[in-house]
């Protein structure tokens, strides 16, 4: 059985063959008309490519070089004098791949921290809501102050519109009803000067 695929691979990739392989290919071509046709087509292809290479070869044209140099000088002149000299090293450093990667990594890290803190706060609130619901002993659905708070946060509602079950939580909430809505934002806004009453309120709730 003739291994035409192998010979065609050699022919089509213009593989440089060892002497033995070359003889083997020649022998095959004498007996296989299909591969012979491929071989002729490849020879034709090579001849065409050679002619194309010769015909589309360009030589350096002095007029074109002058034109390019004129354009280059023009772009050099467009730069503000002095500023390019001072800014270039800075720009070179700023556009270094390492600097770009580090900046990108920092941005991703900060975003990840934001997402983590938000998710963590959400988790704490949910847990707390669950605890309060258990403590309340009430089975009405939904029955938690913090479930309401979460729903309220998600829907962007201004007020909690239904009676709350946990009396204590309700009272605390009403005491601090004017507080900002999202703990993460408070922390960003107030930093270490986080207002004490709010701090106490959250600590008490989280206990």
């Amino acid at each position: 059985m003739m291994d035409c695929a192998r010979y065609r691979y050699w022919l089509e990739n213009q593989t440089v063959l060892e002497r033995d392989d070359e003889r083997e290919l020649e022998r095959h071509l004498t007996v296989c008309p299909a591969c012979r046709q491929v071989s002729h087509a490849m020879l034709r292809y090579e001849a065409g490519v050679l002619a194309l290479r010769r015909r589309t070869h360009s030589v350096t044209d002095e007029g074109a070089v002058d034109k390019i140099m004129g354009a280059v000088k023009m772009t050099s002149r467009l730069r503000p004098r002095g500023s390019s000299l001072q800014m270039e090293p800075v720009m070179n450093v700023l556009t270094e791949p390492v600097i770009r990667y580090v900046t990108g990594a920092l941005i991703v890290l900060i975003l990840a921290l934001f997402v983590f803190q938000e998710a963590y706060t959400q988790h704490q609130l949910t847990e707390l809501a669950h605890r309060l619901e258990i403590r309340s002993g009430d089975v009405r659905q939904p029955n938690g102050y913090l479930s309401e708070l979460l729903r309220w946060r998600r829907q962007g509602m201004g007020h909690i519109s239904r009676p709350l079950i946990t009396e204590q939580a309700f009272n605390q909430f009403m005491t601090h009803a004017d507080m900002d809505r999202i703990p993460l934002i408070w922390r960003f806004r107030y930093g270490k000067n986080y207002p004490q009453p709010y701090e106490n309120f959250w600590r008490q709730l989280m206990r």
């Binding site: 292809y45 065409g48 490519v49 194309l52 589309t56 074109a64 070089v65 034109k67 050099s76």
Partner: protein, 189 residues
């Protein structure tokens, strides 16, 4: 001997690039003179007509001048230049395809118009290849021009096109296969 002269040329080019990086326009002129021909050949083979090729080469050298300060002279200058030329040519070809304009890739037949050459079978084949290559997908056209016409190595083509060597080989295989089929259809019938 050839190796020595090649090393000598590389050394000279590196020196030239260093001078250019210090802002020496005369050194840059020598650099342009040294590489204009090959850049022009590549651009013409990629986009077909002389005017577009000249514009591409001019823009490429302007970009080289602008970004030369960041270029590492130890790396291959010609590969960098070819990469800029190829990217610019790719933009031109893509724009043509987007506009749905008639295929103008290699439509410039000025090199083939003399009657004497038209009789030559090799040139007729060349014209066919030139015409049919325009029907190949863009990536295959680029690989065909860089590998078979510019005679660059597969590794260099991969660097210029920012792709893997395997991808280059696959594209080259498909391009050659398609062109061979065209030739078979046109000349064997």
């Amino acid at each position: 001997m050839a190796k020595q002269s090649s090393a000598q040329r590389d050394y000279e080019i590196r020196q030239l690039i260093r001078l250019c990086q210090e802002g020496d326009l005369e050194a840059f002129r020598v650099l342009v003179q040294a590489y204009h021909g090959s850049a022009q050949s590549l651009a013409r083979r990629l986009v077909g007509n002389r005017q577009d090729a000249q514009d591409i080469v001019q823009e490429a050298f302007i970009r080289v001048w602008r970004h030369l300060a960041r270029f590492d002279p130890q790396k291959s200058f010609i590969a960098w230049l070819y990469r800029i030329v190829t990217n610019l040519a790719y933009d031109v070809l893509r724009k043509r395809l987007k506009q749905g304009a008639p295929l103008t890739f290699w439509s410039d037949h000025e090199d083939f118009i003399d009657n004497e050459s038209a009789q030559d079978e090799a040139l007729q084949i060349a014209m066919t290849i030139r015409y049919k290559a325009a029907r190949l997908p863009l990536k295959q056209q680029l690989v065909f021009v860089l590998r078979d016409l510019q005679e660059l190595s597969v590794a260099d083509v991969a660097k210029i096109l920012d792709t893997s060597q395997d991808a280059v080989k696959v594209n080259l295989y498909h391009a050659r296969h398609a062109l061979r089929r065209y030739l078979e259809a046109d000349f064997d019938s």
